[in-house]
């Protein structure tokens, strides 16, 4: 089948970009979307042009590296699918597609379809963890966890950090990503001691990084390749509000020991 691609080409973060049109003649319907781009890149290389830069790695939909906009939707038209798992059988012969990088102030474009998502790491570093040094963990079964809690935590933890939620959000909000971590750890008894601190620091960091706010449009939930729910965002709002309201200063006398 034939596919017409309009791809955003941008040399680096400081230069302007533009849409460039490519036609691809022999696309097999069993190819994945990225394999189709591989074919394009091979063609471009043979012609002496620079191939299209796009991020990708596992191609199994779990590493979260890949992702760009296809016709204005992150990861393309299929729900619950990353672009690496999107197959060409979902497109028709002669279809024209627009590929663009995820756009947000916090996700500067590095080149073509590749963006810098390190803001996500900085948000995790601000509190998206449970402080437990190696070796100090208690016996695993000494902390019983309700199955429903473990399951819900797992639902939230399934987030792959691809950034599609930010890309889809009309406000470029990272709420779904941040709340997924707050919910994952907050739902588990292990995460309880740092729950307030985590919510405060992560939300503050998210704001600092220049992400927008949540207007509850549900766009992120709809396009999330892992089906992470905005229920988590409600939990984040609740946790944050409660944490700020009930926050206590650390004792001036220092720790207990």
């Amino acid at each position: 089948m034939k596919i017409i691609l309009n791809i955003w080409r941008q040399k680096n973060s400081s230069s302007p970009g533009k849409m460039v049109r490519y036609e691809l003649g022999n696309v097999n319907e069993h190819m994945s979307f990225l394999e189709m781009l591989d074919v394009l890149n091979e063609e471009l290389t043979r012609k002496g042009e620079e191939p299209v830069t796009f991020e990708h790695d596992c191609r199994e939909g779990i590493c979260g590296s890949c992702g760009f906009m296809i016709n204005g939707i992150p990861h393309g038209p299929e729900r619950g699918t990353t672009v690496c798992q999107l197959h060409m059988r979902h497109f028709h012969d002669g279809e024209e597609l627009w590929l663009e990088p995820f756009r947000a102030k916090a996700f500067p474009v590095l080149k073509d379809l590749m963006v810098d998502r390190s803001a996500f790491d900085r948000i995790i570093a601000a509190g998206g963890y449970i402080s437990i040094n190696t070796g100090s963990a208690p016996e695993a079964n000494s902390i019983p966890v309700k199955k429903q809690c473990a399951d819900r935590a797992m639902d939230a933890a399934a987030c792959i950090g691809c950034g599609a939620c930010v890309a889809a959000c009309p406000n470029a909000s990272a709420s779904l990503f941040v709340s997924a971590k707050i919910a994952h750890l907050g739902l588990l008894p292990q995460g309880e001691p740092e729950r307030d601190r985590r919510a405060m620091r992560m939300v503050l960091k998210m704001t600092e990084e220049g992400f927008g706010y949540c207007t509850n449009t549900g766009e992120c939930e709809a396009i999330c390749p892992k089906g992470v729910k905005i229920e988590n965002i409600a939990m984040m709002h609740r946790d944050f509000t409660r944490a700020v309201a009930l926050f206590r200063e650390e004792s001036k006398a220092g720790g207990a020991g």
Binding site: W8, M19, M69, N71, G72, I73, W98, E100, R103, A104, K105, A106, A126, A168, P170, N171, A172, S173, S175, R197, M200, R201, V203, L204, K205, M206, T207, G210, F211, G212, Y213, C214, T215, N216, T217, G218, E219, E221, A222, I223, I230, E231, I233, A234, M235, M236, H237, R238, D239, F240, T241, V244, A245, F247, E249, E250
Partner: protein, 227 residues
């Protein structure tokens, strides 16, 4: 980022409001007050269908509350102020958060109501100002009689242009509520797979009730049902 220091109440409030979540919660809480007011306002005005005396007595009762009325007005004013302030600041953040727009953008889940919140809001605000000048203080009214609410309504709505603005604005208000009521719950952290679908239905019902109720007044006058 070091430890968070929130020594005074002011610092605590500032910290809360500084964050995108805080602003949004302020918007939701003030929104909920305004929501309830809108419902109360509409229910009170329903007395127009019971005749001039009933409605004018109700107005007199409200005026008779004196300080109480002013307290309510102040709370409402504060809520409107904060609702607008947070909306404005969040709207600026939104512009900031995506400086380069998409060449092509599609939406998958966003409802018309959710998409239009940022401009249904300002129009409703303009309407409220007009509405106050129209029926509360009278400057925008051709034949304003202090104390005779019934007359003011009939006379005001007899002008088709004014009525049309009322109808359009109230439809927008309903659309604003269509997304806003459920959104409020979500923002303050109420979401449960069992109840959220009902909250969404409640939100829609609320919007319909307010919309139909409010639009009915000018329509009733224009069609001569209320004279």
């Amino acid at each position: 980022m070091g430890t968070i220091a929130l020594n005074s109440g002011l610092e605590r409030t500032a910290f809360f409001y500084q964050s995108v979540v805080g602003k949004k919660v302020v918007m939701a809480v003030t929104g909920s007050v305004l929501c309830l007011f809108v419902l109360g306002h509409m229910l009170g005005n329903m007395q127009i269908y019971q005749g001039a005396e009933k409605l004018n007595n109700y107005a007199a009762f409200l005026q008779g509350l004196g300080a109480g009325l002013w307290a309510v007005r102040l709370v409402l004013l504060a809520c409107v102020g904060l609702h607008i302030l947070s909306a404005y600041q969040l709207w600026r953040l939104k512009l900031d958060a995506r400086p380069t727009p998409y060449v092509k953008k599609a939406t998958v889940a966003t409802t018309y109501a959710a998409r239009t919140m940022t401009w249904s809001g300002p129009i409703v605000l303009a309407f409220i100002i007009y509405h106050l000048l129209h029926f509360t203080t009278g400057q925008a009214h051709p034949d304003f009689r202090r104390g005779d609410v019934y007359h003011n309504v009939i006379a005001g709505f007899s002008n088709p242009a004014a009525s049309l603005f009322y109808i359009v604005a109230n439809i927008l208000l309903a659309i604003h509520l269509y997304h806003g009521v459920w959104s409020m719950f979500q923002t303050v952290g109420v979401n449960h797979p069992r109840y959220t679908p009902w909250l969404k239905r409640l939100s829609k019902a609320y919007a319909w009730v307010i919309g139909i109720g409010n639009v009915s007044f000018p329509l009733a006058v224009l069609t001569g049902i209320v004279k």
